[in-house]
Symmetry: C2
Subunit: 188 residues, 2 copies
Amino acid sequence: MNDQTIDVDQLTPGARQVLDAASRLFYEHGIHAVGVDGIAEESGVTKRTLYNNFASKDALVTAYLQHRHSSWWPRLQERIDDAAAPRALALFDVYAEDALHVTRGCAFLNAAAELPTDHPAFAVIRHHKASIEELLARLVREDSPEEPTPDQLGRHLFLLLEGAFAHQGVRGRQLITEAREIARSLLQ
Amino acid sequence: MNDQTIDVDQLTPGARQVLDAASRLFYEHGIHAVGVDGIAEESGVTKRTLYNNFASKDALVTAYLQHRHSSWWPRLQERIDDAAAPRALALFDVYAEDALHVTRGCAFLNAAAELPTDHPAFAVIRHHKASIEELLARLVREDSPEEPTPDQLGRHLFLLLEGAFAHQGVRGRQLITEAREIARSLLQ
DNA sequence: AACCCCCTATACCGATCTGTGAAGTTCCGC
DNA sequence: GCGGAACTTCACAGATCGGTATAGGGGGTT
């Protein structure tokens, strides 16, 4: 399924440093505001090493989002597995915890705001958001089988979650806890 | 209140062309992806004229968002005035109509994703979003006085609206109509 | 030993970035 | 017809952009 995911453990040390530095800088300052010179300097590696490991800046941007998704997703799954019904609230909990260091909102929506829709990374963005929406829909179907319209409830929770997350960089992190409270009341 | 708004009618013709072209390009391609050379070329004026009317690219970015808010807000108010209760749904209607040409989601959230938080335009972004949230809260208080927690319902609608709008560039425009349907059911 | 891979350093490419300088033109109100 | 605002063209500055070139060092495998 995820044939494109980045296996961090098999990256060369230099490549790992490049990806880490690029992730920090892209998220903090935006993609177009960060140059490859800055990434190389921040990662303690020369541009030659950067281009030995990543074909282009665009490829590095794609790897940034792929890695962000593929390292976060198992952590979310773990929290879902440990949660009691309604497990959908576990997503809000994870987002609320992340909010302490994820101070500029959703990295995927931020990237979508900057990239052309035919950029290779755009497929990663769509995959990430579709995964979350499908996960919420499944959790609602399984945990609230008496619900007459589980699909609509799933989308309802998705909009609450993403609305709060999208505004995190503008409004701050209390919005996500308010969204969780609203979601909790919806799930009885 | 709005001492910083741009009065389009008293801009010089060249300045107006610059602002229009910059607005198109900033929204379509992002702020950092667009250079002043491209804005000058697209607007049919020279860079000299651009800098005679705007102190810097940052000032032009700020004017772009100020104008976008100050030209859209009266149109929204008009629709609110003409709407029947619950008037909050009129916001969803306006967003749904805008979606036909506003294909890359919210210009203010997109800008917030690219700009540093101390950029002058960031205050415009916060003002815009606070205005919408306050408007929704007021409409709910006035139209649904029987509601036990009108503030929470207002925030609930805000999150639905903004969640759908934020995803418009990724998921397309049917999400906003689904959000409207959910909002309608919440308002009975 | 030879080889290969990954790394280093430094210099360079053409293009583009924001912003400025100087000088000349068009148009409008007085 | 004059002044001035707004415009034009052209050139340029200094920096930075993404990306490449050359040359060599360090360590592990065979």
